[in-house]
């Protein structure tokens, strides 16, 4: 008995962690399991195992159209936000200039503003200027809220760079441009890649701002929200589960590549 309590108190934090992870994964597991449900319309009750939904992920009306839009919007917004955000991070991390605190404020504000406020205010502006919301306005909105997160991520990476590496390149007669291209940029690459991944997942998952500024363009989260009221088709679970597998694969691959690189050095 005494050894049991001791084991318990010694492993308390581990037991806690296991419970925490269980909590985190319950809805993911549910989504996976019900992607195999043999139901045609509402996916509420278990009706038997089938591969049909996985064989035919576009089987439900409009689901792949919405997914395609989300992917296009995500890629485009990520590219623009990563570029603009990295440039800002460079300016903040590497240069002294007037108005720095104002710039920091402007980067911080979108992160401290609830999505619904940004969504409502953007739509107000578009309506006041007579612009019809659609694909372009979604991209505009997504880039806007992703920039700050890119800046913060890349800035942290720049701050952790060892300046001696660049000095060494200069000592070896590399000019500024070459040092940047062959030393600074490769060192920053993991940070920039991480920022891009973050931007993509923020964009892909966004509902509130998108719902305000999308007009009649459908996105995947919008599709889920609208069809949740009548019953979500199992194809939505298939797509959710696939995104999970793909994203996990990308992250693990990134870690693997990173470890091999570190090992090589």
């Amino acid at each position: 008995m005494k050894t049991a309590t001791r084991w318990f108190s010694r492993n308390l934090i581990r037991i806690y962690a296991v419970l925490g992870f269980t909590y985190l994964f319950i809805p993911v597991l549910y989504t996976f399991v019900f992607s195999f449900n043999n139901s045609t319309k509402s996916n509420l009750v278990w009706r038997g195992f089938t591969f049909n939904n996985w064989r035919n992920p576009c089987g439900a009306p409009d689901v792949c159209n919405a997914l395609g839009n989300s992917l296009k919007i995500g890629l485009l917004s990520t590219a623009i936000a990563t570029l603009l955000g990295t440039l800002i991070a460079f300016a903040i991390g590497r240069y002294a200039f007037k108005g720095r605190s104002l710039v920091n404020m402007l980067i911080f504000l979108p992160m401290a503003t609830p999505e619904i406020v940004m969504g409502a205010s953007l739509l107000t502006m578009f309506l006041n200027f007579g612009i019809n919301p659609g694909f372009a306005t979604i991209v505009i909105a997504h880039v806007m809220f992703c920039i700050s997160f890119v800046v913060v991520t890349v800035k942290a990476r720049i701050a952790s760079l060892d300046p001696r590496l660049e000095q060494a390149a200069m000592d070896l007669y590399a000019d500024e441009r070459e040092t940047f291209r062959r030393v600074t940029l490769p060192l920053l690459a993991p940070g920039i890649a991480g920022a891009a991944l973050l931007a993509f997942s923020l964009s892909f998952d966004d509902f509130i701002i998108t719902n305000f500024n999308s007009g009649n363009v459908n996105t995947f989260p919008k599709f889920v929200y609208i069809s949740a009221q009548r019953g979500l088709p199992p194809q939505a679970n298939v797509i959710g589960a696939s995104m999970f597998i793909i994203a996990l694969g990308v992250v693990l691959l990134g870690q693997f590549v990173g470890r091999r690189r570190n090992g090589a050095i």
Binding site: L83, L87, M105, L109, M118, P221
Partner: protein, 288 residues
């Protein structure tokens, strides 16, 4: 001489050139919209439905807040509870990953973020179905009579707060982990050497050193939770509506732009003031 001067000027201009595209984007699509929101909030209805003219009616703000006071207070209450629960769940988790996981550290970190690769809405719908009338949980609870035959889990404030807590957990766990991981374990050993027990070490050494993570995590949870309306919509009932539901309905269904704009503006300013006070109080202004 002129060449040197030109070079120097270019060097001085460089940061602004780098900043320009991103800042112009933020000025055009963040600052300008907020200004538009402010001007819309004092308009009054025109002749046609959906037409509004500027009359500088500042009473709109009072009308808006009086009409939605309950939802406004509820949003902050729910967000506060969800943030506190999130901190209670995430802190030990982040602590375990930072100090007790050994070579599993990276894997566990990936696992914290992994659930969030399935869509936010899908996970909320999943909770709705797990806890819902046809779900397993309710059958078990009714079976063991923990819940009456007419008792339910969804469409309750409990479900809304649980959903809010769940949805923002990684935003809490990751900053906590980042600041815990940076703590030199020798500081904790030193505290032990000075005869502090585990609890005192935690209170006097670990917790204060992890404060930047606590502040960042609570902010990243509280802000989106206060403005959220998905959880209230999918897991709640009409009496659990939050301020987000009101703004959404006023804007997209009732087409009361000034009212929605006034509410949005009040929400934004309230949160900003709270954030500023909180950061000042917690003394972590380097977050800015």
């Amino acid at each position: 001489m002129a060449l040197v001067k030109a070079r120097l000027n270019r060097k001085r201009l460089w940061p602004y050139i780098l900043l320009a595209p991103g800042l112009i984007w933020l000025m055009a699509f963040f600052v300008t919209p907020i200004y538009q929101l402010l001007t819309t909030s004092t308009q009054t209805p025109g002749v046609n439905i959906g037409d509004y003219i500027q009359t500088y009616r500042f009473a709109n703000f009072i009308d808006a807040i009086v009409g939605a006071r309950a939802q406004f207070l509820r949003s902050f209450e729910y967000a506060f509870i969800a943030t506190a629960l999130g901190l209670l769940i995430s802190y030990p988790l982040a602590y375990a990953i930072a100090f007790k996981s050994g070579r599993w550290k990276n894997t566990l970190l990936v696992l914290v973020v992994a659930p969030f690769f399935t869509s936010f809405l899908l996970r909320t719908v999943a909770w709705q179905q797990i806890l819902g009338e046809q779900g397993l949980v309710i059958k078990v609870l009714r079976g063991v009579h923990l819940l009456g035959a007419t008792g339910h889990l969804t469409a309750t404030p409990f479900a809304v707060v649980a959903g809010l807590t769940y949805n923002f957990l990684p935003f809490m766990t990751l900053p906590l982990y980042a600041s815990l991981e940076r703590i030199d374990p020798r500081t904790m050993e030193a505290s032990g050497d000075l005869y502090a027990n585990a609890f005192t070490t935690f209170r006097k050494v670990t917790l204060p050193l992890s404060m930047p993570g606590v502040v960042a995590g609570t902010l990243l949870t509280f802000i989106p939770a206060a403005g959220d309306y998905i959880n209230a919509e999918l897991l709640g009932n009409p009496s659990t509506k939050m301020i987000g539901n009101v703004i959404d309905a006023r804007y997209l269904q009732i087409v009361d732009y000034p009212g929605a704009a006034a509410l949005s503006f009040i929400l934004m300013v309230t949160i900003l003031v709270m954030v500023m006070l909180y950061i000042r109080k917690a003394g972590t202004e380097e977050l800015l």
